[in-house]
C-alpha cells in the first residue's frame, strides 16, 4: 500500500508533506517513515495517510477554482489608502 508521509518539524510549524513510501499497513508505514524521512531530527511528529484516501483538485480545474480570487484585491490590506498622518492602522 502506498502512504503519503507528513512530518512536523520542531519549530511549531504544521505537518508538511515530505514524500511517500510503501508499507503493508499503517504501523509499518510509521516505522519506515521514521527511518526514511527523519534520520537527522527532521521532525517530532509523523502522519501517514493512505495515498488512496487523498482527494486532490485537478490541474484542469485551476481556473474555476482559483481565478475568482484574482479580482478580489480588496481582501488584502495593501488595497486601502492609509493617510500618512493616521497611525496604528
Amino acid at each position: 500500500m502506498l502512504f503519503e508521509i507528513f512530518i512536523r518539524s520542531q519549530h511549531g510549524l504544521a505537518h508538511k508533506h515530505v514524500g511517500s513510501l510503501h508499507a503493508p499497513d499503517a504501523a509499518l508505514a510509521l516505522a519506515n517513515a521514521r527511518d526514511v524521512y527523519t534520520r537527522r531530527h527532521e521532525g517530532v511528529s509523523i502522519w501517514v495517510v493512505p495515498s488512496a484516501a487523498i482527494t486532490a483538485s485537478s490541474p484542469g480545474d485551476k481556473e474555476p477554482l482559483f481565478e475568482p480570487a484574482n479580482n478580489k484585491v480588496y481582501r488584502h490590506p495593501g488595497f486601502y489608502h492609509v493617510p500618512p498622518e493616521v497611525k496604528n492602522l
Binding site: 502506498l2 514524500g19 513510501l21 503493508p24 499497513d25 527511518d35 534520520r39
Partner: protein, 314 residues
C-alpha cells in the same frame, strides 16, 4: 524534432517560464518517459551504490568509522527510496522498476561496477564518487519536475556529509605510515578516471542532451560539469599530497581551468555493456537480497491482512 504541436509549445512555454511541472499536470509522453528513465536509473544507482561500501562495514578500522559508514549506506538506501517515490508519481510502479533492475534490463551508474579492494577505496568513493554525484545533482534541485527537484534537495543536503567523511578517511591515511599513504594513492589511481566518466559521454556524443536541456531536466552539460569537478578536486588532491594519475593534467592560465588527458571511453562503454569488473556480482547480490527477503515481505503482508480481517470481524 518535427513540428511541435500546440500542446507541446504551451508545455515548453511553461518550462521556459520556470513553472514546475507536477504529477497530475499534462506532459508530453517523451518528457514522462525520459524522466522515468532518468529518475529510476538514479534510484537504482543509489541502491546498487550501497554494495561496494557494504563490503567494508564489517572491516572498518574503528567503531566510529563503522558507525559513520553504516549511516552513509543507510542514507543511500533512503535516497533510493526518495527517488523511487518521485518516479512513481509518473505512473510507474516501484515493483516494475525493481523487477527491471533485478533482471538486468535497467541501468545504474557504471561506477558501482568497480571493486572496493582496500579501506582507502571507501575514502575515494566518498571524496570522488559522492563528490561527482553532488556536482551532478545540485543543478537538478532546480529541474522542471517538482517531485524530482524536491527529492534532489533532500539528497544534496545529505550527500555533503558523504563527501567529507570520504575526504577525512584519506586525510588520515595520508598523514599515516608510508604504506597507508601508498594505499590512498592507489585508491586515487583506480577511482580517478571512472569518477570523470560519471559525468557521461562528451557533449558531442551525448544523445539525449539537447532535448533534456530544453525540458530543464538536465541543466549543465556533461563536459561543463566534468571540468568543474576537475578544477575543484585537483587542489584537494594537492592538499592530501596525492598525485592525480594524469600526465596531461596542467593548469591552463588562459582558460582559467585545468587541462586534462583523454578519457578511455571504450572502458566506459564496456562497463555499461555489462563487462565491468563487478557487474555480475552486483546484480547477483541484489537478486539474492531480494530473494532472501521474500519471506519477510510475505509475512508482513500476511500480518497486515490478518489485522484488517480481525478489525472487520469485531
Amino acid at each position: 524534432m518535427g513540428t511541435a504541436t500546440a500542446t507541446e509549445l504551451s508545455f515548453q512555454a511553461r518550462i521556459d517560464e520556470g513553472i514546475k511541472i507536477e504529477p497530475k499536470d499534462a506532459m508530453p509522453e517523451g518528457y514522462r518517459q525520459t524522466l522515468i528513465r532518468q529518475i529510476s536509473q538514479h534510484a537504482h544507482s543509489e541502491i546498487v551504490g550501497q554494495l561496494p561500501e557494504g563490503n567494508w562495514i564489517g572491516r572498518a578500522p574503528t567503531l566510529q568509522r563503522k558507525a559513520i559508514l553504516l549511516a552513509k549506506v543507510q542514507d543511500e538506501a533512503g535516497h533510493g527510496l526518495y527517488l523511487y517515490s518521485a518516479a512513481e508519481t509518473l505512473g510507474v510502479s516501484r515493483h516494475d522498476l525493481i523487477a527491471d533492475l533485478l533482471s538486468g534490463k535497467a541501468k545504474y551508474s557504471s561506477i558501482f561496477n568497480y571493486p572496493t579492494l582496500t579501506w582507502a577505496d571507501i575514502g575515494a568513493i566518498g571524496w570522488l564518487v559522492d563528490g561527482a554525484a553532488i556536482m551532478n545533482q545540485i543543478p537538478l534541485c532546480r529541474c522542471s519536475y517538482g517531485p524530482y527537484a524536491r527529492a534532489m534537495v533532500r539528497i544534496c543536503k545529505e550527500e555533503s556529509f558523504h563527501q567529507r567523511q570520504g575526504f577525512d578517511i584519506l586525510r588520515v591515511l595520508c598523514r599515516g605510515t608510508p604504506a597507508q599513504k601508498a594505499m590512498a594513492q592507489d585508491a586515487l589511481n583506480r577511482w580517478w578516471w571512472p569518477s570523470l566518466m560519471m559525468f557521461g559521454p562528451p557533449d558531442e556524443q551525448s544523445s539525449h542532451s539537447a532535448q533534456s536541456m530544453q525540458w530543464k531536466i538536465k541543466l549543465v552539460s556533461n563536459d561543463g560539469l566534468r571540468q568543474k569537478f576537475v578544477d575543484q578536486t585537483v587542489p584537494q588532491a594537492d592538499f592530501l599530497g596525492l598525485r592525480v594519475p594524469d600526465a596531461a593534467l596542467q593548469w591552463n592560465e588562459e582558460r582559467g581551468h585545468y587541462d586534462f588527458g583523454a578519457i578511455a571511453w571504450e572502458e566506459f562503454h564496456q562497463v555499461i555493456r555489462g563487462h565491468g569488473p563487478c557487474n555480475r556480482d552486483r546484480l547477483a547480490t541484489r537478486q539474492q537480497a531480494h530473494h532472501e527477503g521474500a519471506w519477510v515481505r510475505e509475512a508482513l503482508n500476511a500480518h497486515a491482512r490478518k489485522q484488517q480481517e480481525g478489525a472487520h470481524a469485531v
